[in-house]
Symmetry: C2
Subunit: 339 residues, 2 copies
Amino acid sequence: MSISLSSPGDLDRLLAALPGSDDTAGDAARSRQATLTKPPGSLGRLEDLAVWYAGWRGSATPALTRAHALVFAGNHGVTARGISPYPPEVTAQMVANFHAGGAAINQMCDACGAELDVIALDLETPTGDITSGPALSEEECLAALNAGMGAVPSDADVLILGEMGIGNTTIAAALALACFGGTGADWAGPGTGLDADGVSMKARVVEEAIALHKPHISGPFDLLSRLGGREQAAIAGAVLAARSNRIPVILDGFISTASAGVLVWAQPGALSHCIAGHRSGEPGHARLLEALHLDPLLDFGMRLGEGSGAAVALGVLRCALAAHNGMATFAEAGVSDRD
Amino acid sequence: MSISLSSPGDLDRLLAALPGSDDTAGDAARSRQATLTKPPGSLGRLEDLAVWYAGWRGSATPALTRAHALVFAGNHGVTARGISPYPPEVTAQMVANFHAGGAAINQMCDACGAELDVIALDLETPTGDITSGPALSEEECLAALNAGMGAVPSDADVLILGEMGIGNTTIAAALALACFGGTGADWAGPGTGLDADGVSMKARVVEEAIALHKPHISGPFDLLSRLGGREQAAIAGAVLAARSNRIPVILDGFISTASAGVLVWAQPGALSHCIAGHRSGEPGHARLLEALHLDPLLDFGMRLGEGSGAAVALGVLRCALAAHNGMATFAEAGVSDRD
């Protein structure tokens, strides 16, 4: 199924009618786990992952063949405020690095068996500086959401969502503050390597942006267009397109999670087809995962983005499914069950 | 290099002359990390893993081609005390399941790209009941240590060590209590699924064994032969053979870690070529990891053994090495470094 939006109201309508998972398949997967040659529950969280995945794929023994990673890249006018130690031209340079196969996400995708698509979103046209006006016009935000939706292959078994964009931890902090409250300091962190003074300044920038836009935000489209960033809107769009196709999603770090978090702020349960691949080293991510009640799979202090943490987590999901689908039952193996 | 022991004293001599890692290679790997197209430190623990691995493999860009899993199986006389909900014949049945490809470790090895060898150690001759006498004679213990040493392929790049043996969480608890102190209740847990009464009884069994043997334990060979279990001695032997060949090791859960822990009790630093693949759901494992100052990679509440948690962790190490070896440098990619 392919979806796209013609108006901001389409986003609300889509969120109000999200498909659920297949409980029958999930229950059958749970029952299968109890028959496999291991003490009940002894694969711990891997069992829960397999059951969750089975529900979304609608099969008691679901294949995990095609894993697909999408990396969206965007540029941000707020970099004029000096909130990143790297110059904005690095976004396009890193996109070239992705295409040449030289970035971390390329290696992770090779190692974990995921295809990679990199979608550069109008890098030559940065968004507006969110401390002085909206990031995106309505048309630009719709285009970014639709770019995300259109990038999801309907035959993917699992989706990894990552991003690249100098300045985008500031955008993520603004989205998180708008959705989940607190102060700028709660959500602003070092990103790619700001010092303490830089982090304080970033926190003030985030609060300025929220003071400017908050009176005008009544729904998720407002959030994404006013604070947005194209890659954030695209990630939100991709999460929704995945949901429409019942494709499980592995979220990456702070930016990817904040972008998806806009959806759950608007509609509880909107992320039940998503797992958090990891807890990143960016401090706001831990706080955000708690706000979203997401329990991350990995915790390695990674803070690179690109989908890199989610790609490492894909290996865990592959193991969970390999055990679930491939193990013999007590009956098949002739192993005695407990006394 | 292949090693084997002719006498208990050989174990002490081996432990006193363990080779170290190659600091030059480790330093070169650390320097390489700083040149790769990412903010410094942004791959978090994956960077540390790559540097650690590089030191042991003696190369700034070490390959991780051949991953090898060894699963040692043994039977235990202490099962006569009713410390497992499963009958002891399950050990041999599970070995048959491993050979038929139906167990969790088979699927994990397929998913993570590891070869698997299963070594059944005299299953028809259980060890002595440790509450009434030594587990193994000197000859039996030497044979088990040598079986472990002989099973390590000298051309492996990384080793996963797992085990199977009904009753062997009791053995692991006894080893941990002898090495690291505390009470039986500190180390005895539900294992494959004991209820609270069963766990209390298991704690008493472990304390009985320690009361009987402690006066006679003056070194690691005494520990392994008196409390042992063949698969525990074999794991200790495999850890030492890996060290001799500078092959990094991924330890699995409570039993695998307790077996290796005997070595570090005897010789500090004996496990510096090892990482803890995960923190298992068996409560004693968390305590043991703390005692050993090992920070586990994963924490999924797995408690199956077989090397299953270590195999999942192999995927993480593969990602770490893929990024380390495959990423472009700032100079190669033409990406601007920070301002």
